[in-house]
């Protein structure tokens, strides 16, 4: 994969790269997290994160069809959050507004993504 992906002008889907920080990932900078979390604690941490993000986006920007969090270690995928809204306008509005919000002490980067079917979203 060349990783040169086209950025669509309109899309139902947006991506926020590197937003989720897995406590087990050594590059995590959040000092309140430790790598000694048990699997259950890690799952709870993830569930809370997912719920927090999902509810805020769904409430503020519009109905979400699907949301995925990448938890692998590829540089370009770590902690990426893909959100597919029901309506294109909602995705557009979310991208514009999220780029001017903070999240956990970091600025959010948001952009539209060409992904529409997550089962086909494999980089070839």
């Amino acid at each position: 994969c060349s990783r040169i992906h086209n950025k669509p002008t309109f899309s139902q889907t947006m991506v926020m790269p590197n937003l989720y920080q897995n406590p087990r990932n050594a590059t995590t900078m959040d000092p309140t997290l430790t790598c000694s979390m048990t699997d259950d604690e890690l799952q709870e941490y993830y569930d809370n994160f997912f719920e927090d993000v999902f509810l805020e986006l769904d409430e503020k920007y519009g109905s979400i069809e699907e949301m995925n969090v990448c938890d692998n270690l590829g540089d370009h995928l770590t902690g990426n959050i893909y959100v597919k809204f029901r309506h294109e306008e909602d995705a557009e509005k979310a991208v514009t507004e999220l780029n001017n919000r903070w999240f956990g002490g970091r600025p959010i980067h948001a952009e539209l993504s060409p992904v529409t079917d997550f089962r086909e979203a494999c980089c070839r």
């Binding site: 590197n18 809370n48 780029n99 001017n100």
Partner: protein
């Protein structure tokens, strides 16, 4: 079954990096782009 939960105060949303509460996220990203603050920093 999943029990309904009250909306809690978010741990993450709208939390600015310490010391940068006075600038906007867009301004902060410009600082990152120009190398004046680390690209990935601690909260």
């Amino acid at each position: 079954p999943r029990r309904p939960r009250e909306k809690r105060i978010s741990l993450y949303w709208d939390i600015a990096p310490t010391g940068f509460e006075h600038i906007t996220p867009m301004q902060y990203k410009a600082l990152q782009a120009s190398g004046q603050v680390p690209a990935i920093g601690p909260p």
